[in-house]
């Protein structure tokens, strides 16, 4: 699971959960897979991203020094930051770990890079 995916995941579907975001991420095993950097795409993706979840992903991935805690105004002009965002969001691959619902504590395991977010019938 790439950390870009993490930014879009929520446990909102659980019965009684109001926001379910951001999920609490734990990484037990990760890989780094190089992929081609496209600054224009990262820039277009920015409005869709939740910066607080970008930052928390950076903290968990031990890349917090690369990413400011609050979104700067001029990200599009900062090629270096776009490159760092690309690395964080598209090159870090979480192989083993878990995601935890911030409201209920329900844990979703990540196994072989695939998060299991399937809920039981009595949870929805």
């Amino acid at each position: 699971m790439k950390l870009s995916t993490y930014n879009f995941l929520t446990s909102m579907a659980i019965k009684g959960v109001k926001v379910g975001y951001p999920l609490k991420l734990t990484i037990n095993k990760k890989d780094v897979i190089e992929s081609e950097f496209n600054p224009v795409f990262i820039e277009r993706l920015l409005p869709k991203l939740d910066w607080s979840a970008v930052y928390s992903a950076a903290q968990v991935a031990e890349l917090a020094d690369d990413i400011p805690a609050a979104q700067p105004d001029n990200v599009a002009e900062d090629e270096q930051l776009l490159q760092r965002l690309h690395h964080l969001l598209f090159e870090i691959d979480v192989l083993e770990g878990q995601l935890e619902c911030p409201e209920t504590g329900r844990v979703f395991p990540i196994t072989d890079g695939i998060p299991n977010m399937l809920l039981n019938e009595d949870e929805v």
Binding site: M1, K2, S4, T5, F8, L9, T10, S11, M12, A13, Y21, S35, E36, F37, N38, V40, F41, R44, L45, K48, D50, F90, D112, G113, I114, P115, N116, M117, L118, L119, V124
Partner: protein, 234 residues
């Protein structure tokens, strides 16, 4: 668009995962035919529901390469694995995720949504007596890939009800349907939900008449027109 390599999947995989067939290829052909539109749409986040073997989302991810983020969901763990393997085999960037429809994804984020649903008309009992198992035995989980209940629309109808919460403001859905799923009824239902749906492509194969429905939000202007037609028509 290149047809992805699938030789890494064997008949043993297809005991648990839907094997690409005419319906899958029709959806691929529709995307290929609409590439010019997709280039204008510039989708940031693409998602395929029920990705199965992963051929469709892989072909798309390969074409969009580093201009989009592609996600695949499936309830069947074997399908999630197969999708991941297909993406890796074809050097495409796809993240595989086990969940029901788009349940685990934030609201109104998806710019391009693909769904080849379980569309075969079956009795609802057929689905109810089935239980998705952790260790899928032959056909036990595969039934969920094709059995569609009454009108073959049990799952499709659930998705369409949620569509407003799923698609981004400019989001588009390509949905595969069978004549028996009553596409005209679906188009009408979507219009009431303020979506514009057209039969983008159709194909007759032995025993099946397949359609690709292309669905997007009605623009304000079209919405006014459509409401006017509805008003004067009733």
């Amino acid at each position: 668009m290149e047809t992805p390599h699938t030789e890494h999947l064997s008949s043993a995989d297809y005991e648990h995962v839907y094997e690409p067939a005419e319906d899958s290829f029709l959806l691929l052909d529709a995307l290929e035919a609409d590439l010019e539109f997709l280039d204008t749409l510039q989708p940031c986040l693409c998602l395929e529901i029920g990705s199965g073997s992963g051929v469709i989302i892989t072909a798309l991810a390969k074409r969009l390469a580093n201009t989009a983020h592609c996600l695949a969901t499936d309830i069947n763990p074997k399908a999630c694995e197969a999708t991941k393997r297909t993406a890796i085999r074809n050097e495409a960037r796809v993240d595989s995720l086990r969940c029901n429809l788009t349940e685990a994804v934030r609201r109104r984020c998806i710019d391009l949504l693909l769904f080849n649903p379980p569309y075969v008309v079956t009795s609802d009992e057929e689905l109810q007596t089935q239980q998705l198992t952790e260790h899928p035995a032959t056909e036990r989980n595969l039934v969920f890939s094709w059995a569609g209940g009454t009108d073959g629309r049990r799952v499709t109808d659930i998705l369409l009800e949620q569509l407003d919460d799923i698609l981004s403001p400019s989001g588009v859905l390509y949905l595969l349907l069978l004549q028996e799923n009553k596409p005209d009824e679906i188009i009408e239902q979507l219009r009431r939900q303020k979506f514009e749906a057209v039969k983008y492509m159709e194909r007759r194969i032995p025993g099946e008449h397949l359609y690709i429905l292309k669905v997007k939000r009605l623009t304000n202007q079209k919405l006014t027109l459509s409401l006017a037609c509805y008003w004067f028509g009733s």
